[in-house]
């Protein structure tokens, strides 16, 4: 308890369809998304780089 909540910008998200993890610290190099990009700031039209489902299929990881 009282564990600080994950700061929004560092929140990792996981694809509920395939398990790919978007980590803002890494970004998505394959799609030219630089490290430090929060999930909320991903470009429009961005999809899971592994299974291509839309962003609405992502779930906060931890």
């Amino acid at each position: 308890m009282n564990r600080p909540q994950q700061p929004l910008a560092q929140q990792r998200y996981i694809c509920a369809n395939c398990g790919y993890i978007y980590d803002p610290a890494i970004g998505d190099p394959m799609n030219h998304v630089p490290p430090g990009t929060p999930f909320e700031m991903l470009p429009e039209g961005w999809v899971c780089p592994v299974c291509y489902v839309g962003r609405d299929q992502f779930d906060p990881l931890d």
Partner: protein, 818 residues
């Protein structure tokens, strides 16, 4: 949409069929000594216990107020909200005057709560600040009729203040009127203050006036204030009478000590009259104030307790709301008794239309807002189904009903029906008549059935790319057959754009893309409302990303490993325990099963996983072993091959099989054939496999669906899908080891997802090679027929839980989409 609150476990409508909604007031650091002592001692379990007690006594919402001098309100609020969210079943009311505290609580609360409170005390600054939060977090609110002059005392002032608040909250911030509960303020009439003598009347008038002036809004009162200063036995009675009067005036909710409210019918008539005199400031003796008479009367009776056992009047409320609660909570407990009681009051059709269907509608809304997880929706549907089947014997047989009729089918050649069956479950249990034609249904049969059954809507589904093409091609057939029902399309390979551009133009009725079962439900409702239209696609919208490598040069000098053998092998017994470690549990829990974290705090999600999801997974593993539901088998082989443009020529002894693979239209223009050497480069080695978990699990899951065990059906089906995928992952690892390129597996599950190993595998029917026709040469090479695996006319494999792939060893081979 009916305004409602929701916790993790259930939803509660702000407007109860029989008001008022009872809001428990005992978790208040200022109002409850017991609570305060526990709070000051950091006795969190003790604080939560007070919430649980109130819930047991009938509170439908719990007010939480922890502001106390010298304490860190925010810390206390978060601590308590977190603990309560996972413990009590009812939603919370966040009671604070500090915006930071309110926001922090809204942020972590996994549901829809109500904020207590907003007002106009500072002219609107505070109000606007909180309204922005309400809008952002979708919360409801209690609005106190307090303005810059202070608490509104007269009915006229209360009404005017409410209007002003409403103008700002709804006009400026777009909040819904029905999400506001106005508190016309209660002042004590028990202390003998002359200026407050008619305050109960002003409050009751205020409620009437607010409801008349602002249609849709609700009213709430902090009830017990009315009797402040009086003896506790008489307070209970005065509070109860006042509550009754307020409800008559239009009150929707009351902040009360839920256990202390007495049903009116149990009260002594004389007591009641005396209370009414006091409330309405009526004098029965010219020289004696109603308050004096009140005090004398109850002093005389002191010690006498006036509670009678509950009677029918009181039971009326529990039966209706209890049934709603059962459906929303997905509980079948005591349904028989509840329905028995209700059948004494209304015909079965009324029970369905007035209680059950609204309850399911509400469940759908909660799901839509991400406040209810799919497994719980299915439990609600099960409870609904059970309730309806209990009512059916009491309904006239020939009642055709006016329910909209929907025909559902999985299209020709496609065996995947989980999506279609979810639509069936959701529609059926929202009161629609569904004809489910099953799987692999040719267009001709759909036309024939549509003519015979005359559905108002047709819903078609299919998982694979091929099924999307089947849907597109059949549109003209449906037009030629002059079908007149709108067609809803759903399935993994469909997109809004495809439906809008490739399907809708070839049919004369609306053709509508449905992303999930609830979109299907919405479409049916739109149809009933006369506003169902074909899906459209805006070309100017951003084009979706096409992930995958960009600007790559496929190296040609990679070594070709030696396979241990050439030709095919059949492995008839693969130990299940070898496969389980490869299960992608994240995809199973969050994807297949729908246990998303979404808005939950991390600890709460961890708790659900530990207490509910992991045990279920363990149980399914054990059961599937004990009952032989999983029979993993593989047909696989290694073959010499070479690439020739976009083709791969595969040799098996003297025969040649040609696999044609599509090439990406945009950079880097990849094609699976690129990862294999040409004849001139000396040729290459390709692996193929077909793996299956057998037919038993599929049969079991179908039986669960057929017997309306929706929750277990989805769980077992999802388990089967992911174990099949795990089997493919496992077998791919075995094949890498055989080639000597896979000495160790990736260290983490995520490593498998991102293919942190040499090479790749491409499933037939999936994005890199959507053509299922390749199954013909695959079956010729591997002869999986010997393991009981067959192909449908559309090249899909049966049993359903079977998958196939081509295995490439090239280090640059990774997933991509054409």
């Amino acid at each position: 949409m009916k305004p409602a609150l929701a916790s993790l476990y259930q939803a509660i409508e702000l407007r109860q069929p029989i008001p008022p909604l009872l809001i428990g007031e005992r978790m208040n650091a200022n109002g409850s000594k017991r609570f305060r002592e526990r709070l000051l001692a950091d006795d969190w379990a003790g604080c939560v216990e007070i919430g649980v007690e109130q819930e047991k006594r009938g509170a439908q919402v719990l007010d939480v107020c922890v502001a106390y001098a010298g304490r860190d309100e925010k810390r206390d609020m978060l601590e308590l909200v977190r603990r309560l969210a996972g413990t009590v079943k009812v939603p919370l009311m966040i009671d604070s005057t500090t915006p930071d505290v309110i926001e922090a609580a809204l942020k972590i609360y996994p549901g829809r709560c109500i904020v207590n409170s907003i007002n106009l005390e500072d002219g609107g600054k505070y109000l606007r600040r909180i309204c922005a939060l309400l809008k952002k977090y979708g919360a409801a609110a209690v609005a106190l009729t307090i303005n810059e002059r202070g608490m509104a005392m007269t009915a006229a002032d209360k009404i005017a203040t409410a209007k002003n608040i409403c103008d700002i909250a709804c006009g400026e911030f777009g909040l819904r009127q029905q999400d506001l509960l106005f508190d016309a303020l209660t002042f004590t009439i028990g202390a003998g203050d002359e200026t407050l003598r008619d305050s109960a009347l002003q409050t009751l008038e205020g409620i009437r006036g607010i409801k008349a002036a602002l249609p849709g809004v609700g009213c709430v009162l902090g009830l017990s204030n009315i009797s402040f200063g009086l003896a506790s036995a008489s307070r209970k009675i005065l509070n109860s009478v006042f509550l009754h009067e307020a409800v008559q005036a239009g009150l929707d909710a009351a902040i009360v000590d839920a256990g202390n409210i007495l049903p009116l019918a149990t009260l002594d008539t004389a007591d009641r009259e005396i209370c009414l005199d006091l409330l309405h400031d009526r004098r029965r003796e010219a020289d004696k104030k109603p308050l004096t008479i009140f005090i004398e009367h109850f002093q005389k009776k002191a010690g006498e307790v006036t509670t009678k056992p509950t009677n029918a009047e009181e039971e009326k409320k529990p039966a209706e709301t209890a049934l709603t609660d059962r459906i929303v909570a997905g509980s079948k407990e005591g349904l028989e008794d509840l329905l028995e009681i209700l059948r004494g009051r209304m015909p079965p059709v009324e029970i369905i239309n007035r209680i059950l269907i609204p309850a399911m509608r509400h469940v759908g809304e909660l799901f839509g807002r991400g406040e209810l997880l799919l497994p719980f929706v299915l439990q609600s549907a099960e409870a609904m189904k059970r309730a309806v089947s209990l009512l059916e014997p009491h309904m006239p047989v020939a009642q055709e009903g006016h329910a909209t009729k929907v025909l559902l089918a999985t299209v020709q050649g496609d065996v995947h029906d989980i999506g279609k069956n979810l639509v069936d479950i959701i529609l059926t249990n929202n009161g629609y008549k569904v004809f489910n034609l099953g799987i692999k249904v040719p267009a001709e049969v759909i036309i024939e059935k549509a003519r015979a059954l005359k559905p108002q809507i047709i819903g078609l589904s299919g998982l694979l790319v091929k099924s999307a093409l089947v849907m597109k091609e059949s549109m003209r057939q449906y037009r030629e057959a002059e079908l007149d029902a709108p067609i809803l399309l759903g399935g993994a390979a469909l997109t809004r754009k495809f439906v809008a551009q490739d399907c809708a133009p070839d049919y004369d009725q609306p053709v509508v893309y449905c992303a999930d079962a609830f979109a299907g439900l919405q479409a049916v409702r739109d149809f009933e409302a006369g506003k169902l239209h074909s899906t459209t696609f805006d070309e100017t919208a951003a084009a979706p990303f096409k992930p995958g490598l960009k600007n790559v040069e496929i190296s040609r000098d990679n070594p070709v490993p030696q396979p241990p053998f050439l030709g095919l092998r059949h492995i008839r017994e693969i130990p299940v325990t070898e496969v389980f470690p490869y299960v992608n549990t994240e995809a199973l829990f969050r994807g297949r099963w729908g246990y998303r974290r979404a808005k939950l705090p991390a600890e709460d999600y961890a708790k659900i996983l530990a207490e509910k999801v992991q045990p279920l997974y363990a149980k399914l593993q054990q059961e599937s072993i004990a009952e032989g539901l999983l029979q993993p088998q593989a047909a696989y082989g290694w073959f010499r091959c070479f690439s020739r443009g976009e083709e791969l020529v595969v040799r098996d002894e003297s025969r040649e099989y040609i696999f044609g693979f599509p090439r990406q239209a945009e950079s880097p223009h990849l094609c699976i054939a690129d990862f294999f050497k040409t004849e001139a480069e000396g040729g290459d080695i390709a692996g193929f496999f077909v793996v299956t978990i057998g037919a038993k699990l599929g049969e079991r899951s179908q039986a669960l669906f057929a017997s309306d065990q929706y929750h277990d059906y989805l769980m077992l089906h999802g388990f089967g899908v992911e174990v099949t995928d795990a089997l493919a992952e496992y077998w791919h690892a075995v094949m890498r080891r055989e080639l000597g390129i896979g000495k160790s597996d990736p260290a983490t599950k995520a490593g498998f997802v991102t293919q942190d190993y040499q090479g790749s595998r491409y499933g037939f029917g999936y994005p890199a090679c959507p053509d299922m026709g390749a199954h013909i040469p695959v079956f010729a090479l591997l002869q999986p027929d010997a393991l009981g695996i067959t192909l449908t006319e559309n090249m899909q494999m049966v049993p359903e839980f079977t998958t196939s792939a081509i295995v490439a060893h090239h280090p640059q081979a990774k997933y991509f989409a054409v």
